[in-house]
Each structure stands twice: as C-alpha cells, then as structure tokens.
C-alpha cells in the first residue's frame, strides 16, 4: 500500500476524510492493510541519538513504533518526548500514556502537547503497579483508569472540551487506542471489557503477549458475536522468547503475561533456544493473522529488538510492502506501487 503523499519529516500529512488523525498508522489500518507495530523501550538517557538508534532498528518493517510510558513501572525517558523526537524525523509513533504517574490535569495536558508536536496515535493504559518496577516507593496516582482516560481523550477531540467543560481553542487530531489482555481472568469478561473500551472511544487495540492461540480465538469469536470486529482494529501482541528460563521468569514476574507450559518446554528442549523462540514467534504470527478480525501484530521484543526485522520478514505478513522510514529510497516506493 503506497500513499502518494509520502511523509516529509516534520510536516504533517493531510488528513483523509473520515480519519481521526493525519497519521500513516491509521491510514494503513483503514485501507485494510495488515499493520505491524513494534515496541521501543525508551532509553535511560537524555540523548536524542539513543532514541533514533532504537527506532532505526525497525526501519522498513513497522508501520508505527510504540513508545512505552515507564513500562513495568521503571523510570525511563518520557513517552511524549520520545514521540516528539520520532515525529520530528518522520516516524509514526504510538504514544503510550499510563494512568499510574499523572492525574487528570497532567494527562489531558499531555494529550494536547503530544498532538501539538505531531503525535497521531495514543494508547490509553492503566499501567503496571509501582511495585513491579525500580521505584516501588513511588506514589501510585491512578486518578483515572484506562476507560476514563479514553473518555477524556475522545472528549478533547470530539467535543473540544476538558473534563471540566472548559473549551479548547483547537482540538487534538489523534487516533485513540487501548490495550486488552484476553489471556488472564476473568476470561468471560474480557470481550465485554473490549466492548467497554470501544464504547469509551478506543479505535484500535494492542493486546498483551499472545502465546495461547486457542484462548485468542475464543476471545475473537466472542468479540465477533458482540459485533465489535467492525468497530475496532485489533493488533495482537507477539514477541520472541530468548530461552525457557526467560519465559519462565516473565510469566512469574511480568504482570499479565501468560505463557503455557508447552511453550516453555519447547524452548527448554531446543538445541538453539533463541532461534527456536524466533521460529515460534513466526509461527504464532502466521497463525494469528488468519483469525477473523485481526488487523495486525504488535511486536514486543525487549532486548531482542534486532529480531523484529527477521521475524516479520520470515512471517511474510507485509507481503513485500516496505513501510516508510526516514531515508527510504524513493525507487522502493515506486517499485512497490508498480507491482
């Protein structure tokens, strides 16, 4: 899928009719493409170069880059700053915004600020508890929850007012998303919760890591029955596991990660666990893309970011498409447009 008006770094694209944002990510989804997003772990540094280097790894394989907001309750560079830097050189970031660290005054302000800097996509999250991170002594805020945040965000955009009712002089044109985790209890409620998020304004969903496809199928089938699949774009979270040990550690310590025993055993029995983890990831993507209502995959390859290109390439989901990146050769887009 090629758009004639390729981005010019630092300049927004024109907004297409019926779209909420001027972003490429929304364009790909609305055009029916299979989207690929990847998670960028913001650096523990104050240097822009570190952000660029981390984004550069994904060049040519992702439609949008998620900038996490203190993920796992660990302190890093702020997501709004990472997104502003990425937008400035033409990347298409998804800004994650968690309710853990800010009250409603800060969050509404952050959305306006991000939109002013050209950020087109926002993922509204509740956030991990502070106990999970490196500052367990911090005060957890949670003034809003993810659904209240979605509601406040869409109010800014669609009604042009703050929660207080005070009017904005210009509205943020942002594509709003939320997370969902079909893989933890209460399982029956999860599709309903998706419906709650859609009702509150979620336009796209990025799920937690999927290592259990039968559970995902059940969730998607129920979402279909509820009539949600036409109302929201669902990107399923996937990632390569480096070893059985890491997999086991993750399912014990990372909130919300469910990894079935069979997966851990498969890695434990492999001669080259790292390669096996990538094979598994490719297989999962290929299986997931066939499920009705799946609009893309979201790669979380923490400390294995270089694996994203390989996994996406082997999975074939881009079907030869090369998503834009700063410095992408012009002939590349023409070639693909002709093919």
């Amino acid at each position: 899928m090629i758009f004639e008006d390729e981005p010019e770094p630092g300049h927004p694209l024109p907004m297409l009719p019926g779209h909420s944002s001027a972003g490429r990510f929304e364009r790909i989804l609305r055009a029916g493409g299979f989207a690929v997003t990847a998670e960028l772990a913001p650096p523990d540094s104050a240097a822009a170069e570190d952000v660029y280097a981390r984004a550069h790894i994904f060049d040519g394989y992702v439609d949008a880059i998620n900038a996490t907001d203190g993920s796992g309750a660990n302190c890093h560079m702020s997501s709004v700053a990472v997104c502003a830097l990425l937008t400035h050189i033409g990347y298409s970031p998804v800004m994650q915004l968690s309710c853990r660290d800010r009250n409603r005054i800060a969050m509404q302000g952050e959305i306006l600020g991000a939109a002013a800097m050209g950020v087109c996509n926002l993922l509204c999250l509740t956030g991990d508890g502070v106990q999970a991170g490196d500052h367990p002594q911090a005060k957890p805020v949670f003034d809003y929850d993810s659904i209240s945040l979605l509601r406040a965000a869409t109010r800014l955009r669609d009604e042009g007012t703050f929660e207080s009712g005070r009017k904005l002089t210009s509205r943020p044109h942002v594509f709003f998303g939320a997370a969902e985790n079909p893989f933890v209890p209460p399982y029956d409620w999860r599709p309903q919760r998706l419906a709650q998020k859609v009702a509150a304004g979620a336009q796209f969903i990025q799920t937690q890591y999927c290592f259990d496809v039968p559970l995902l199928r059940k969730f998607m089938a129920r979402a279909d029955e509820l009539g949600l699949l036409d109302q929201v774009f669902i990107l399923v979270g996937v990632g390569p596991l480096p070893s059985a040990k890491t997999a086991d550690w993750m399912r014990r310590h990372v909130p919300g990660v469910h990894i079935p025993d069979a997966v851990v055993q498969r890695l434990a029995g492999a001669a080259k666990p790292k390669a096996e983890g990538r094979n598994l990831c490719v297989e999962l993507i290929q299986e997931i893309r066939e499920i009705k209502g799946v609009s893309g995959v979201h790669l979380m390859a923490y400390r294995q970011e270089e694996a994203v290109a390989e996994v996406i390439e082997r999975s074939g989901v881009l079907q030869g498409r090369v998503p834009w990146y700063p410095g992408r050769p012009a002939e590349l887009s023409l070639e693909k447009a002709a093919s």
């Binding site: 509740t126 999970a132 929850d145 659904i147 985790n181």
Partner: protein, 157 residues
C-alpha cells in the same frame, strides 16, 4: 476485614435486596434530613456509614459508592482504584497483580455481579471519574439528596 468482604460478595444478592429497602427509607426521610440540615448531619452519618460499610466491604469512603453495580465488591480496594473492571495484570489464579495475597477485586466483583437481582450488566456501565472532593463524605446522604423529589423552590423575597 478481608474474610467479611469476601462473604459480602458471596451474599451480594441478599445485600442488594437489603440496600434497596434501606435506600428507599433514606430517600423517604429526605424531609427529615433537610429539617436537620444535610451539612450538620454529614459528619455523624458519614461516621456511621464508614463503620457499617467498613466492616462489610472494607469501604474506602470514596463518596461515589458503586457497590450495587459492582457485585458488592468495593472497587476502591483495587490498588489501582479502577472503576471499570480488571486491569491486564490479574494473575492466572485470579489474584491481584499488586497484592498477590488478595483476590482481584474485579474478579470478585464479576462473580458478585452474576448473583445480582438487577443482572450483571450494570458492572459494565461507564462511570464518571471519581470526584476526589467527595472522599470521606456519605454516599447515603448524596443519594438521598439526589433521588428525593425536589422541594418547591422558595419564592423570591
């Protein structure tokens, strides 16, 4: 207390019926509350409410009680104070992400809501974000004030 809180959720249907009767009385007494002055009785009523609901639900006195929508599980006992359902961190055994020794408040709420006479749909309603100014105030009196028929407006002097 944790054990009593779990008991309350198991008996959400009975407590719901009791509360409905209780609410009718509190609302019907609106003229009395007005005669005594809502402001004047706020503190003692809030103290009683805190005691009763504290024992039954570990009530945190948010002032915007949602118990009858949430299967008689108080959402303010969720360490993230979520008002619309469980976060993505619930453990596979249904325990809380933040406090592994506690059942997820929303897993409990979901179970409680299934037993409610009014049906489980109310738990999914969109709730207004908590107004933090109401913390510590009486939900009972707020409901009485809101649900009672409005007294005729006083004639302008």
């Amino acid at each position: 207390m944790y054990a009593i809180r779990l008991w309350s959720v198991r008996h959400s249907r009975g407590l719901e019926a009791f509360y409905q009767g209780f609410e009718r009385i509190v609302v019907a007494l609106d003229p009395v509350w007005r005669f005594l002055g809502y402001d004047r009785i706020e503190k003692p009523v809030a103290a009683v409410e805190k005691l009763v609901k504290g024992v039954l639900f570990d009530c945190q006195m948010c002032g915007m009680c949602a118990l009858s929508q949430t299967g008689m599980a108080c959402p303010m006992n969720c360490p993230k104070q979520l008002r619309h359902g469980p976060c993505g961190g619930v453990r596979v055994d249904g325990m809380c992400e933040v406090k592994p020794e506690m059942r997820c408040v929303w897993v409990e709420a979901y179970a409680g809501s299934q037993r409610m006479q009014a049906g489980p749909a109310a738990i999914r309603e969109l709730r207004a974000p908590v107004d933090r100014r109401l913390t510590g105030t009486s939900s009972w009196l707020r409901v009485a004030r809101e649900k009672a028929p409005k007294p005729p407006a006083k004639a302008a002097p």
